[in-house]
Symmetry: C2
DNA sequence: GTCTATATTTGGATAGAC
DNA sequence: GTCTATCCAAATATAGAC
């Protein structure tokens, strides 16, 4: 095993390009990041970039690819089990969201998402499908199970999910913006928990 | 009166530049909009642009200027009066938000805001101050008054405002993105109303 | 795989004629 | 105020030597 994994070590230039690009795209967006700047940060010439990627667009799409990969770790069985715990389900979900918000890598990715949201249709679709629909689905299942067990008041699970998710997104947005300007986020650091508390008070039976 | 207002009619080129720029900036962002493209859309040469504006930056700042002007029309007296009506206050607020969402001009402005949110510190600050804080202030006053009059359950008015506002923002974001791709928003058109309904159920005494 | 050199395009901005 | 012509810088991309 370790033989095979080591065979292709070095140069690793391609990985380095990807890593650097990730950082630059997330900071300056697509248009604001030049191949020149990428090459310079990697420590090679622009022309050398084209040995690894066909063009700038290809680099960006590779960067964007894992932008939406696996945010939450719920499988079907887990949702039912977790939802039976009521508030703890919401808390777990919110804490996973909080973790992403403050995670260096995901923070970068979230910035790319925001920058490209209005400039790239693929990104918009991924946002709707992976970011929104996927989370709404998980939450709806959870709320539906809670309603069946009269842990919470009866209502439309989709609406309830929408309400719960939208605030999480907004908190994340605010925190991301503030951290971008190195503004302290201590005043918002407990906002996720407050959201769960408020929301549970709003829906519990 | 009509004499004075007519004196400077035509060419109106400067206004046309502004109008075209607004559309282009909102669609392609600052970097994605070239002076060439602006001039071409206006129907003049690039050089002619510089008879009206010093440079591209000046055009953009002019466009950005009225981005945050007067979203909501509440004065202090009105808030108290309106808040006493409970749910109607929230409904009025949400409907004003809905109006902005579907208004052509404000839709353009909102797109510029999103595009520049991560690329322009001034925009971020304006977003926090004008967009967020201002609305939180109005809502907090409203909720506080409702609590005093036991129209709603007792809670932190700031948190409550945050919860109410964040969903409005998220709905607006989604609708804006969908309209950008000419996707029908009928499924979301009543989301504002549903939000008010759900929220009122969550807080009413 | 990386380099130098270069082709090509695009974009911001100015000079001077009309 | 607008035009043509032009300049300059930056950026994408390619060719060919090492």
């Amino acid at each position: 095993m370790s033989d095979n994994t080591m065979v292709h070590k070095r140069t690793g230039t391609k990985e380095k390009i990807l890593k650097v690009s990730k950082a630059l795209f997330s900071e300056y967006g697509y248009k604001g990041t030049s191949v020149r700047k990428i090459a310079s940060n990697v420590g090679i010439r622009e022309s050398a970039i084209y040995n690894h990627y066909m063009n700038k667009e290809e680099i960006f799409l590779e960067v964007a690819k894992d932008m939406f990969s696996s945010p939450f770790s719920f499988n079907d069985g887990e949702i039912r089990e977790s939802a039976m715990k009521g508030k703890a389900f919401l808390h777990k979900f919110a804490m996973q969201y909080k973790l992403l918000t403050f995670d260096k890598y995901n923070e970068s990715m979230f910035r790319i998402l925001l920058i490209e949201l209005l400039q790239n249709k693929d990104i918009r679709e991924q946002f709707m499908n992976e970011f929104h629909n996927k989370n709404i689905k998980v939450l709806s299942e959870g709320f539906f199970i809670m309603m069946q067990n009269t842990l919470i008041r009866s209502s439309d699970p989709m609406i309830m999910s929408y309400e719960f998710l939208s605030t999480l997104f907004y908190i994340r947005l605010q925190i991301t913006l503030m951290r971008y300007d190195s503004i302290s986020t201590t005043s918002l650091s407990t906002q996720f928990e407050k959201h769960v508390d408020f929301f549970w008070e709003s829906i519990k039976s």
